[in-house]
């Protein structure tokens, strides 16, 4: 009789404890991804009725502040993701847990690596362990509104900008101004993501953010100067083709309302056009071309790619961590859905080699660029370096600071920042 009581009590305990598992997941806002992941949550909860998953979204610009304040108070979510350069400090400070291999049915980290394309997990590998699974790897290419090209007598298929010099010329043709006020921009950059798009421009000319030994920052003055001059020339003090204070080009692009002809964005932009402006999407009046390269480039580097990796809070209970990895593994086992519905590339071998991927519009353009690109630089102070570059670019574009002066300040501050322990 006694064992019966124990038996019942044991199972009651299991049920009660099990019913309490609540997993919170904080992720950045991506309108097309929400319905997809909400569906996976439903399915997962049906499979494991004792688990309750709460998914919360934040705008991408806010998520790093929000997650940081929560982690500082040791009340972080169980699962979160943000751009890898912002998430990197969490790995270094041991705030996230390594991937639970047994939950994934794997034995070694190498086995996990082999499921993904070469280098896809390097960003989250730290001291021999892997700390996150990729939700997306994204690089940016140029989106073009063909109508406006034809309007100014250009053939989009042939005359699209291949070099940055051409980008200036073509934008000059496309721009419409009233006096100094721009009503339609040809192209505009994706401010303030300088580590993503500006750094490769510098690298094309032989420069770099860090030296190989990692001891100095801002390498090769000539390359940096040329890029800063290019940006000055682009801004209101130069040819007046664009500026960080206009509405983001990628946001205006979808509207197809004669405010911008080209923008810089990832594959996911295609699904955003489809969702926001189906007429424009169906008109096929848009196309995607590779990231331009300077005419006298010494290195063929394309737009840096960045990643979003799902990570698990190291301070969640062991049990929650386990369920968190199980859930992440479940939702990430649908890479084709993510591609087809959201336009996200999950760098799994199975996906990249599939026909779905090969037949996806413009996937090839992005993939070819990505093969000639590398991930954004990862550094615990990455956001601060980006801030310094932002200040330098803004000072040449918007104030009377000369590129030489801006570079001097940037170099000084960046090296100081690097030396600080």
């Amino acid at each position: 009789m006694r064992w019966m009581t124990w038996f019942v009590m044991f199972w009651l305990a299991v049920i009660v404890c099990a019913a309490q598992i609540e997993i919170t997941i904080w992720t950045h806002e991506d309108p097309n991804r929400t319905p997809l992941e909400e569906r996976y949550i439903q399915e997962f909860q049906k499979m494991y009725p004792n688990v309750k998953i709460t998914r919360v979204t934040y705008p991408s610009a806010k998520i790093r502040e929000v997650v940081l304040t929560a982690f500082a108070a040791r009340k972080g979510p169980d699962i979160f993701n943000m751009e890898i350069q912002d998430a990197y400090p969490y790995i270094v400070n041991e705030r996230v847990a390594p991937v639970n291999l047994s939950v994934l049915g794997l034995k070694t980290f190498d086995e996990l690596k082999s499921l993904y394309v070469e280098g896809a997990l390097d960003a989250v590998t730290y001291q021999g362990k892997i700390y996150g699974l990729p939700l997306e790897l994204t690089n940016w290419c140029i989106f073009i509104n063909k109508k406006y090209f034809r309007e100014v007598g250009l053939d989009p298929e042939k005359d699209y900008p291949k070099t940055w010099e051409e980008m200036v010329q073509i934008s000059e043709k496309l721009v419409i101004r009233e006096g100094q006020i721009i009503k339609r921009r040809g192209f505009d950059f994706r401010y303030p993501y300088y580590l993503t798009f500006l750094l490769p421009m510098v690298e094309q000319l032989g420069g770099a953010l860090f030296s190989d030994d990692g001891k100095t920052a801002i390498v090769n003055d000539e390359a940096w100067l040329k890029v800063l001059r290019f940006m000055k020339d682009w801004g209101p003090n130069g040819r007046n083709l664009g500026s960080p204070t206009y509405t983001a080009a990628r946001k205006e692009f979808n509207k197809d309302n004669n405010t911008v002809a080209m923008c810089l964005s990832g594959l996911y932009q295609i699904d955003r056009i489809k969702a926001e402006n189906p007429n424009f999407y169906n008109s096929k009046e848009w196309m995607v071309v590779p990231f331009p390269v300077f005419k006298d480039a010494v290195k063929d580097v394309r737009c840096n790619y960045y990643g979003h990796y799902y990570m698990v809070n190291a301070e969640s209970s062991k049990e929650k961590q386990e369920w968190a990895w199980r859930f992440i593994n479940y939702i990430l086992s649908h890479p084709e859905d993510y591609l087809l519905n959201v336009g996200l590339i999950q760098p799994k071998r199975s996906l990249i080699e599939s026909d779905t991927f090969k037949n996806y519009p413009y996937a090839k353009v992005f993939l070819q660029d990505m093969e000639r690109a590398h991930i954004v630089p990862l550094h615990p102070k990455g956001p601060q370096f980006e801030q310094l570059i932002k200040e330098a670019v803004e000072s040449v574009m918007l104030t009377t600071t000369t590129p030489e002066e801006a570079l001097r300040i940037l170099k000084k501050k960046a090296n100081e920042l690097l030396k600080e322990e």
Partner: protein, 279 residues
């Protein structure tokens, strides 16, 4: 005489020009809230466009994810501002009463101590305060928004000044009747200091309604956000256009305008009792 007429016209001109300067942005908000972004960005701005895009309001209320979080934020703002106001009024008047009508050792010291906190800027202590509040487990809760703002030195000082002139006869009469000390505060003092309370209440409500920095640190869950937090989130979302943005702004302003028009007297008289508030 002619000079005086001329001066008179000039003064009217001056006052009206500035009244226009002050009212135009508000007018802009309401007109733009009914336009498409194309019209808003048109040169020159079409003040009377004849366009009535009510879907801007619908989008602002519904939110880009269709979860109607804005309604929740409006409710949160009301809840947080009202609770803070009630708490502030009660606590500040109680302390003010204690300081005004009771003699005890160290009273002057306590008053000076309270007044000295007026010099501590909120921004200077926001980070340690944040760590305290999170250690108390109030991170991401309404309590975390309300509790640290429940008292302010200015409110206490204002209530004390007001209660210094409160008739002692009323208090003594109640005491002879056997009313307890707390009962005197509750039944005699509180109901008879409405003008000061109304002013303090409006000041508190308004500054809490406007509060951005503190909620930005404390609140993470979307269902606990207050209006300012919702608006800055809405503004950065990808599908938000200018018209919807202005609609969200208009919705946030309407309750305060209603309050302002119905309680103008207290708003305007409250201004003379300004001081350092945590905002």
């Amino acid at each position: 005489m002619r000079q005086s007429v001329f001066l008179d016209i000039f003064i009217w001109f001056f006052l009206i020009v500035f009244a226009v300067f002050i009212l135009v942005p508000i007018l802009f908000m309401f007109t733009a809230s009914l336009m498409s972004s194309k019209n808003i960005m048109r040169i020159p701005y079409p003040w009377i466009s004849g366009e009535f895009r009510w879907q801007n309001y619908w989008q602002a209320i519904k939110g880009n994810d269709g979860k109607f979080f804005y309604l929740k934020s409006i409710w949160n703002s009301f809840l947080v501002a009202s609770l803070t106001t009630i708490g502030t009024v009660l606590l500040c008047s109680l302390t003010g009463y204690g300081l005004a009508k009771y003699r005890f050792k160290g009273r002057t010291f306590v008053l000076l101590m309270i007044l000295s906190t007026m010099m501590i800027p909120f921004e200077a202590i926001m980070i340690p305060l944040y760590l305290i509040v999170t250690n108390m487990g109030m991170q991401d809760t309404y309590a975390g928004l309300i509790v640290p703002l429940l008292m302010n030195a200015f409110g206490i000082f204002m209530m004390r000044q007001y209660l210094l002139t409160f008739p002692d006869e009323l208090i003594d009469a109640a005491r002879i009747d056997g009313t307890s000390e707390f009962g005197i505060y509750w039944k005699i003092v509180l109901p008879n200091s409405l003008p000061a309370i109304a002013t303090l209440a409006i000041l508190t409500f308004r500054s809490q309604w406007d509060n951005l920095l503190w909620p930005l640190l404390i609140i993470q869950s979307p269902e606990k956000k207050t209006i300012p937090l919702y608006i800055i989130q809405f503004a950065t979302e990808k599908y938000t256009n200018e018209g919807a943005m202005m609609a969200a702004a208009a919705i946030a302003s309407i309750p305060m305008f209603i309050l302002f028009f119905t309680l103008t007297k207290y708003f305007l008289s409250g201004a003379e009792l300004f001081a350092a508030r945590k905002d």
